[in-house]
């Protein structure tokens, strides 16, 4: 037997030898595979059996004629290990995409070929989102045709090799999120073909080269802003740059995004930036900028985002900013600005968020703000603003955050504030308000936080507050309120309550778990008594409440989240706009050039025309299905995963902005069990949404077509055994914190699976609920090192992030449907009617 064993091994060895003698691409691929640790065995078909044709292996694309490997796409396969130097042996390789794995080690120098005989043909090298270390190989500069180099989000160190800039054809240089050091070389002017440049979140220092604007302007950038070749469109820094903002940047008129945030830039904002009339996003926040805000910024007519917060700016807010009619987000918080809030800002009718927190602004709250009907976030806190709260504020019906705390606001609270039915957070604290708490606050159905502390309010706590079912924070301390606290006993969701230092009296109830509040919530009210204050009224009988099986609900909720959110967008009908009042301020929206808005970088290198070309202007032959709200096309793009294009049946141009906001919100949700929204385009041939293409047909069919795969059918066929708990993934219980919010998401998702489109909540409702759970993620608002964005509340964690790590049942694959999946669905079935009624009455009326 030992002989046989030896013989087999001999054969085995021979096969190795044969491999190495024929140094063909197949053997090279196997060599590359050896360096990976293929955790999920996704490369199982990469074998050296003689019958195996490497051209059909996963991720391998061969030339049709020569059968040499021309592209390697192994993105997102959970590959561990390292990139083999053997990759340099694939001489005809034009594209390498290994993004989104867990590859470690260094980028092999062989990728840039410094020791083999023939030069690489490589044009695309995408290694982003791995754990690669070490420096950028100098040899990358030796790849003559390199056009796309994306090494973002690794742990690369060292300097950017100067020679990399000497490339006529390099178009995309993504180095964001590494540990690169050194300064930017003026040689970068040689990148005449570049249109995307991103070095954000590195440790680069020094000054931004003075000649940056100069060299690009020289190449015709100034005159031909939309010509991508000679124009860097994305200019993104965030490092430790010092010095001033070079004025010449004002000549880079093609810039779509100028992000100099989170550096240590000082000096004034150059007025010439006002000449960037095609820039949509200007981020200068978190620097040491001084001087006043140049009125010239009012010329940046395409501006959507203007973030100047956390600097040392002085002077007034220039009224010229009112010319920015496309402005969506204006943030000048935490500066030293003075003077009043200019009335002209009310001309920015698309403004969604206005934040002037932490300045020295005075004057009153402009009544003209009521014209900003799109506004959802108004933060005027921590200034010196005087006068009353104008009742006009209650006309901004979309407000979800109103924060005017820490000012010198006086007068009474207008009862019409109760009209702000979408309000989530209301902060009027630390002012000089007098009068009563309006009973109309009971109409704030969505509100989660009310803070009226540190004022001079008097009167009773209105009974109507108990109507607010979502409120978890209520702060009324340091006022002159009287009466008792019984009106709050039905606020079951309340977890933070402070009524201290008022003139309240009576008994602190113990029912409805009211004892969850600490004595600190009640002190300073001489008339209040309760068992756990030092003034017991009578012996209490605390009863042990049966804790509901949180875990069960949680598990169900999670499953629902995962399964049903996936179809949420697909199944939800588009927003049905509320009729606009006569004389509406909305200007008619004209479609000039169809804009392709990219939310994820997967599609970054494509333009609208590409997609139209690939699908022959959305020709019928690319249709893969029809949904309740859209027709779905499949489009195979170059160097990119195929995308599913949903063309919505109807669109409402008058609500474009709102629609876009909602899409941004949906697009910001990232979860591996969710089909992510890659981008959208509001084009003349309909509103197009781009998703990752998923196989296995449509989920609609799975839910609604009557066959053995029908999910409802499956659920009915497998009877419940009340053991849902055990079927829940144990990781779920370990990671989630708030049951209520999970439940809400799940309920929402359930609604979206209703068979009749009319029975489903619309997009607006969906995003509103989601937004109440997840903080609105607006791109770069935060420095990398800064603490996370303030959540709507301390209690609601950012679920989407947490869930990204949770394993959940896969239901799309019908044959492998397990009993646990079915049980989850059964539970859904029971809940759906109840939830539906509940939500419908809340949101859909």
């Amino acid at each position: 037997m030992a002989f046989r064993l030896g013989l087999v091994l001999l054969v085995l060895l021979l096969s190795f030898v044969v491999d190495s003698v024929h140094s063909d691409d197949g053997a090279t691929l196997l060599e590359i595979k050896k360096s990976f640790r293929d955790v999920d065995n996704v490369l199982y078909d990469w074998t050296d059996s003689p019958s195996s044709d490497y051209c059909v292996w996963r991720g391998v694309i061969c030339d049709n004629v020569t059968y040499s490997v021309i592209a390697l796409n192994l993105s997102g396969l959970n590959l561990d290990g390292e990139i083999s130097p053997a990759i340099g042996n694939l001489k005809d390789l034009t594209s390498i995409d290994l993004k989104g794995n867990r590859l470690s080690g260094q980028i092999p120098d062989e990728i840039g070929d410094c020791s083999s005989f023939t030069r690489l043909q490589l044009e695309t090298l995408v290694l982003k989102n791995n754990q690669l270390i070490g420096p950028l190989p100098l040899t990358l500069s030796q790849i003559p045709n390199l056009k796309v180099l994306d090494l973002a989000q690794n742990r690369l160190s060292g300097e950017i090799p100067k020679l990399l800039y000497w490339n006529e054809v390099l178009q995309y240089l993504g180095l964001r999120g590494n540990n690169l050091v050194g300064t930017l070389s003026p040689d970068m002017c040689q990148l005449t073909g570049l249109w995307f440049f991103d070095v954000k979140n590195n440790s680069l220092t020094g000054k931004i080269p003075e000649n940056i604007g100069n060299c690009t302007a020289f190449q015709g950038l100034v005159l031909q802003p939309a010509n991508r070749r000679d124009s860097i469109q994305h200019w993104i820094f965030a490092n430790s740059y010092v010095g001033k903002i070079p004025s010449v940047i004002g000549l880079m008129q093609a810039l779509a995004v100028l992000d100099l945030s989170c550096n240590m830039l000082s000096g004034p904002i150059p007025p010439i930036l006002g000449n960037l009339t095609y820039t949509e996003k200007l981020y200068l926040h978190d620097n040491h900028l001084t001087g006043s805000i140049p009125p010239e910024l009012g010329n940046m007519t395409k501006l959507h985002y203007l973030e100047l917060n956390d600097n040392l700016l002085t002077g007034n807010i220039p009224p010229e900013l009112g010319k920015l009619t496309d402005l969506f987000d204006l943030n000048v918080a935490n500066n030293h600005l003075e003077g009043p809030i200019p009335d002209n800002l009310s001309s920015c009718t698309n403004l969604n968020s206005l934040n002037v927190h932490g300045n020295k602004l005075n004057g009153t709250i402009p009544r003209a703000l009521r014209r900003l009907e799109s506004m959802t976030n108004l933060n005027l806190s921590s200034n010196n603003i005087k006068g009353p709260i104008p009742i006009e504020l209650s006309r901004i019906g979309n407000l979800d955050t109103l924060d005017i705390s820490n000012n010198k606001i006086s007068g009474s609270i207008p009862s019409s504030l109760g009209d702000l039915e979408h309000l989530l957070k209301l902060n009027l604290s630390r002012n000089q308000l007098t009068g009563f708490i309006p009973a109309e606050f009971g109409n704030l159905r969505s509100v989660m936080e009310i803070d009226l502390s540190d004022n001079h309010l008097s009167g009773l706590i209105p009974q109507e507050l108990s109507q607010i079912q979502n409120m978890f924070l209520l702060r009324l301390e340091n006022n002159n309120l009287s009466g008792d606290v019984m009106s709050l006993i039905n606020c079951l969701s309340l977890s933070v309550l402070n009524v201290s230092y008022n003139n309240l009296a009576g008994v602190i109830p113990t029912g409805n778990n009211f004892s969850r509040f600490s004595p600190d919530s009640f002190i300073g009210n001489p008339g209040l008594c309760g068992s756990w204050l030092n003034s017991p009224c009578y012996d209490s009988h605390p009863e042990e409440r049966a804790t509901i099986s949180k875990v069960a609900i949680l598990g169900i909720a999670l499953g629902a989240l995962v399964i049903l959110l996936m179809i949420l967008v697909a199944a939800c009908r588009p927003h049905n706009p509320a009729p606009f009042p006569d004389g509406s301020l909305d200007k008619p929206v004209s479609y000039s050039t169809p804009k392709l808005v990219i939310l994820h970088m997967n599609m970054a290198l494509h333009v609208y025309e590409d997609i139209m070309r690939m699908t022959e202007n959305l020709s019928e032959k690319y249709i893969i299905g029809h949904g309740a709200s859209s027709t779905v096309y499949k489009c195979v793009l170059k160097n990119c995963r195929p995308v599913a294009i949903k063309r919505l049946y109807s669109h409402y141009p008058q609500c474009l902005k709102e629609f876009e906001t909602e899409l941004e919100t949906v697009g910001s949700i990232k979860h591996r069990n969710l089909v992510s929204l890659q981008g959208y385009s509001l084009s003349p041939c309909g509103n197009l949404l781009f998703y990752d293409y998923m196989e296995n047909g449509s989920l609609w069919d799975l839910f609604h077509v009557d066959n053995e795969c029908n999910l409802h059918h499956l659920i009915l066929s497998k009877t419940a055994n009340n053991a849902v708990m055990e079927t829940v993934d144990p990781e779920v219980t370990a990671t989630s914190k708030d049951l209520g919010a999970v439940k809400k998401v799940f309920q929402l998702a359930l609604l979206c699976t209703k068979r009749q489109p009319a029975d489903r909540p619309n997009m607006h409702e969906v995003t509103r609920v989601l937004r109440s759970l997840v903080p609105l993620i607006t791109p770069p608002k935060q420095c990398a090192q800064a603490p996370p964005a303030p959540l709507p509340s301390a209690k609601v964690p950012c679920y989407i992030d947490e869930y990204a790590n949770i394993k959940t049942p896969h239901i799309l694959n019908c044959p492998s449907m397990s009993t646990s999946d079915a049980q989850l669905f059964l539970k859904f079935g029971e809940l759906v009617e109840m939830v539906y009624k509940d939500l419908k009455s809340n949101y859909c009326s």
């Binding site: 046989r4 085995l12 302007a217 190449q219 802003p225 991508r228 070749r229 010439i272």
Partner: protein
């Protein structure tokens, strides 16, 4: 041309285009809603653009009423002080999906002579344009406007000589003729291009020798992949701004000139695959900015490396001297260049031992010393070996060995044969057969410490892979009926048992 913008004047800056009668207005225009009252495009240039478009198969373009209006990709214009627009840049070819330049019909495209009617042209860019209609580079390009700064004719399939006339384009900063089929020698007239910053003639079939280059501001010089002969001109040392020299894959002979030492800014020098036959000049030590020195495959005159050979090259990260006929010992000075990441000295006749200070090269990630005559113990410990893994190549050095207690073996990837054996043992583990057979027969010398568990796991996975392959082969053998089935399964059973034992051992290691 320097474009120093007087920024005190807001937004519109007039720059004198010296040497030209009609100065263009540099600086941003008032956007695309530009107030074009009285603005017009030069009619002659407009016609010229139509001609050039037609010549590249873009007949549709003749329907454009005004080529400077409407932002056509690939066409850039600037106004002069009379508000007349002039074409300053033309670009063609499918560079990528994002740069929607006019593409060329490769079968019938050519460069129209009308290009001469564009007196303000600064950039001319043709990429993959004429590959199916091979044609020489037209000599009339040499008569283009003296304003031309960038001439890119990349991967166009151009044949014939480089026109001498290109030497008339004295304002040229970038000349890029990469990947064509140009032959003949490099015209001496190019020496007149005193403002050149980048000269790329790589991947052609240029012959002859390199003329006496003297480009004071040249940064990048790429003549690689041609058939150039003769020696490297010593005048290269006068191109003080060079940061990259690539002469690789030619037939250059002679020596590297001593003057090279004056290139203080040089970052990369690739002279590999030539016929250079003299030892390295001593002045090379002055190249203290040099990061990559690649001299592979040159018969460098059977040189020895002096003991202070690389002293002073403190920036050096990549040193590739494979197959360069080196002999003698590896200089200890090499171990002092702490930035070194890649060292290839394979295929030489180096003898002596590996300098012990090599273990101080913390950045070293790749070391090839195979196929030499090195002796003595390898100075690397476990960590360094583990870091380099397969990129450490030491085989075919009869005298090289490792100390049993150095940790060398622990660091090795178990699937990888270092090619050297233990010191004081006669047989350097010659083949993986031995290793694996011993691993199967008695479990080998299994690591017993906990920190070896990952190595053990590696071994386990290798064993698994071997077993898989064995099964595959065995089943093949069944079909060709060489073995009786029961014998094969018997073997498999034994294999499985051993695997069980093996994995138990591994899990014990883990715990």
């Amino acid at each position: 041309m320097s474009l120093l913008l007087p920024l005190t004047k807001p937004f519109t800056v007039i720059v004198s285009d010296s040497g030209n009668q009609s100065a263009l207005v540099d600086g941003p225009q008032s956007g695309f809603t530009m107030n074009r009252d009285g603005a017009r495009t030069d009619a002659r240039e407009q016609e010229a653009v139509y001609d050039i478009m037609r010549a590249t198969g873009n007949d549709w373009a003749t329907d454009i009423p005004d080529v400077c209006r409407g932002r056509w990709h690939g066409i850039e214009c600037m106004p002069d002080k009379d508000n007349v627009y002039h074409v300053v840049s033309l670009s063609f070819g499918a560079l990528s999906d994002d740069t929607a330049f006019p593409t060329c019909d490769p079968a019938k495209s050519y460069i129209s002579k009308s290009i001469m009617k564009l007196p303000h042209l600064r950039t001319l860019f043709f990429y993959r344009c004429f590959s199916h209609n091979p044609q020489p580079i037209p000599a009339f390009l040499g008569q283009l406007s003296p304003t031309l700064q960038t001439l890119v004719l990349r991967e166009n399939g151009h044949v014939g000589f480089i026109p001498t006339e290109l030497g008339n384009l004295t304002r040229l900063k970038v000349l890029d003729l990469h990947k064509n089929n140009l032959n003949g020698s490099i015209p001496v007239s190019l020496g007149r291009l005193a403002e050149l910053r980048s000269l790329d003639l790589s991947r052609n079939t240029l012959t002859g020798s390199i003329f006496s280059l003297s480009f004071p501001v040249l940064n990048v010089l790429d003549l690689s992949q041609n058939l150039l002969v003769g020696s490297i001109p010593s005048t290269l040392g006068s191109c003080h701004s060079l940061i990259k020299i690539d002469f690789s894959r030619n037939r250059l002979s002679g020596s590297i000139p001593e003057s090279i030492g004056s290139l203080k800014e040089l970052i990369l020098m690739d002279l590999s695959y030539n016929r250079l036959s003299k030892p390295l000049p001593t002045s090379i030590r002055n190249l203290n900015a040099l990061q990559a020195l690649i001299l592979k495959e040159n018969p460098m005159g059977s040189a020895t490396l002096s003991s202070e050979e690389f002293d002073g090259m403190t920036s050096l990260m990549v040193l590739i001297l494979s197959y360069t006929n080196l002999h003698g010992p590896i200089p200890e000075s090499l171990g002092r260049l702490t930035n070194l990441r890649v060292i290839h000295l394979d295929g030489n006749r180096l003898n002596g031992s590996i300098p012990t200070n090599f273990k101080d090269l913390k950045n070293l990630g790749e070391l090839r010393l195979n196929d030499n005559q090195l002796t003595g113990p390898v100075p690397f410990g476990r960590e360094m070996v583990w870091k380099m893994r397969r990129k450490l190549k030491l085989h075919n050095n009869t005298g090289l060995c490792y100390d049993a207690n150095s940790g060398f073996e622990d660091g090795l990837d178990s699937t990888f044969d270092s090619g050297i054996g233990l010191c004081n043992t006669p047989e350097p583990g010659s083949a993986r057969t031995v290793q694996h057979l011993s691993a199967i027969d008695d479990g080998g010398t299994m690591p017993s410490k906990a920190d070896k568990s990952s190595a053990a796991l590696h071994k386990a996975s290798v064993f698994l892979r071997l077993l898989q392959q064995t099964i595959a082969i065995a089943s093949t053998l069944i079909f060709i009926s060489t073995f009786e089935i029961d014998q094969v399964t018997g073997f498999l059973q034994i294999g499985a048992e051993r695997l069980l034992i093996f994995s138990n051992r591994v899990s014990a290691d883990w715990s």
